[in-house]
């Protein structure tokens, strides 16, 4: 495990030197800082009396602070979920291709590391990166909005963790694809395709009637049954963040399917890695 964690730590160290990752951190910090200075919320006895952004009144009606903040937390959850996964696919697409690039992989494989440790370490490194990134984004917004509104909740942070779990499954497929084709563009394309198809798969029951009954519908249902239900988890994350009721057994099944998909892809990647010559 020590070697696996050393690989993950090196990946994180390398990631922190990258402009994209640094830019995301700076952007989140800047938005939080500007909002922190520009947003004013007047809360009286648990009711949000007025909201001002850059001095302009945003809301006139008086309502409970919690009721007013729920849609905001919901929007933040959606932005972090879809924005975070989209950014992760782009920013992390070349980790696999870099790792397996000629001249680097031979060097890494000549070190006292097992191949599976290298792959698992990379996966853990990217998972940690996405988790820390989403926690930083969600944590910063949650603390800011909680301080301003007086509504303290951890739900948006839990929603961000769901985003991270979803990304980790997609990244499993991206990493496996890099072992077949050592290309960042292909990995990004695989990630992007899974992201979009995963959104479609989340609405498969609603979309299935659009296909004629028969082979086309059967094929659609079969293909989408294999994909992670990205949009279902996104909706659950947003509902969770906004204190709406969440069907926990259904969410649990979606998460199980998601992780089975990610680990399955990783297993295929390991199989390919073990038999491949570099």
């Amino acid at each position: 495990m020590r070697v696996t964690l050393a690989v993950a730590r090196d990946l994180l160290r390398e990631a922190l030197q990258r402009r994209w990752i640094l830019a995301l951190g700076v952007a989140i910090s800047a938005v939080v800082l500007v909002l922190g200075m520009a947003l004013r919320m007047e809360v009286v006895d648990g009711a949000l009396a007025a909201t001002r952004l850059f001095g302009h009144v945003v809301r006139h009606d008086i309502r409970s602070a919690e009721g007013a903040m729920n849609p905001v937390f919901q929007a933040v959850a959606y932005v972090i979920f879809y924005g975070g996964i989209g950014f992760g696919i782009l920013a992390c697409s070349d980790f696999g291709a870099e790792l397996f690039s000629p001249g680097r992989i031979e060097h890494l494989l000549s070190l006292p590391i097992r191949r599976w440790q290298l792959l698992l370490g990379t996966y853990i490194g990217v998972f940690t990166l996405s988790t820390v990134g989403s926690l930083y984004g969600a944590g910063a917004f949650t603390i800011l909005l909680s301080v301003k509104s007086g509504v303290w909740t951890l739900r948006p942070i839990v929603a961000a963790l769901l985003a991270s779990a979803t990304f980790s499954a997609i990244y499993g497929a991206m990493l496996a694809s890099a072992l077949f084709v050592r290309s960042a563009a292909v990995a990004a394309a695989v990630g992007g395709a899974l992201f979009v198809l995963g959104i479609v798969a989340g609405y498969r029951d609603d979309l299935a009637p659009l296909f004629n009954a028969g082979p086309s519908r059967v094929i659609f249902l079969f293909v989408t049954s294999l994909l992670p239900r990205v949009s279902q988890i996104a909706n659950a994350a947003a509902d969770l963040a906004s204190s709406h009721a969440v069907d926990l057994p259904h969410l649990g099944r979606s998460l199980f399917g998601l992780e089975a998909f990610g680990l399955g892809c990783l297993a295929v990647g390991m199989w390919q890695f073990e038999r491949k010559d570099f």
Binding site: V7, D10, R18, E98, G103, R104, S110, P112
Partner: protein
């Protein structure tokens, strides 16, 4: 020799790559090789001869299709064996975002070495990167990257150094530095396995040579044996040289006018013969060992192989 005295033992090694369409591509065909410990072995051959594939099989990066590879008395895929190997790949791709010293720290960690920052800086200093150790690798020249990779290969005083074109992109003075470092490593007892297109470099560093042609090891042995007899000399005399007298004294005429070949087992015998030649009126202007260079050895081996 027993296996414990061998750094590398390869028997019946074959490697073929499956072709997408058509016949598989054969890279190595039944290679047999034993490299004793504490020697410097140079592998030479033309492009596509299978040298890099062979090197990679020594590291477990490429798996043999057939045959057996033992390195430092173990399986090259075993982490315990790899811990004792330092490798410098031909096509270098180092993480551009890391500083040189951070890269060394990463390699040390993955090798399971606990080296203090001072030791890492000393490693960088040894390869001539002391003032650039904190710069990110992305700003390094090709030669600097090569030096850094060599420093990484040397971490932990490995028993076997596998170097694929170690001086590629390095300036002439840098090459001399690297030769010096490799000489120090040999003096320490390390085995060096070198693959280089620079035959003069190989000749200077290695004491055993192997010639690989079309995936087969066609020549292998001590350098002196391959390049010529240790007791053979080439003498050039002022023209006109007394050829008949020289032939009587044991000199063999060569194609070049005034140049003769001579075999002498000891310095005493050599000087005795030269004194006799001078006594016969021949005036010596040049004396050198009658040896071929590696280029000629390679050309002859290739010709024989074809």
């Amino acid at each position: 020799m027993t296996s414990a005295t061998m750094a590398i033992e390869v028997s019946g090694l074959e490697k073929s790559y499956a072709g997408l369409f058509g016949a598989p591509q054969v890279a190595l065909r039944g290679v047999e090789l034993s490299v004793p410990r504490a020697t410097a072995f140079g592998l030479i051959g033309q492009n596509g001869a299978g040298k890099t594939t062979f090197l990679k099989t020594l590291l477990g990066v490429v798996r043999p299709s057939k045959g057996r590879v033992r390195v430092l008395d173990g399986d090259p895929e075993e982490p315990a064996v790899r811990r004792r190997i330092g490798y410098l790949p031909e096509r270098l791709h180092l993480p551009a975002a890391l500083a040189g010293v951070a890269f060394l720290a990463s390699v040390a960690r993955l090798k399971g070495l606990r080296l203090p920052p001072r030791a890492l800086r000393e490693s960088a200093h040894r390869v001539g990167l002391s003032s650039d150790a904190d710069r990110v690798i992305g700003t390094y020249s090709k030669g600097m990257k090569q030096r850094l990779a060599l420093a990484a290969a040397l971490l932990g005083e490995p028993d076997l150094l596998v170097l694929d074109e170690p001086t590629d992109g390095v300036d002439p003075l840098g090459r001399a530095d690297i030769r010096g470092i490799l000489a120090e490593e040999r003096a320490r007892g390390a085995t060096i396995f070198l693959n280089s297109h620079l035959l003069s470099e190989t000749e200077r560093i290695c004491d055993r040579i192997g010639v690989l042609a079309r995936g087969k090891l066609v020549r292998e042995g001590p350098l002196g044996e391959l390049v010529g007899e240790a007791d053979a000399y080439r003498c050039r005399f002022v023209l006109p040289a007394p050829a008949a007298a020289l032939v009587t004294l044991g000199f063999d005429a060569s194609d070049e006018a005034g140049t003769f070949r001579l075999r002498a087992g000891t310095p005493e015998e050599l000087n005795f013969r030269l004194d006799a030649a001078r006594g016969a009126g021949a005036l010596l202007v040049d004396l050198r060992r009658d040896a071929r260079d590696l280029e000629e050895v390679l050309a002859a081996a290739m010709q024989a192989a074809s």
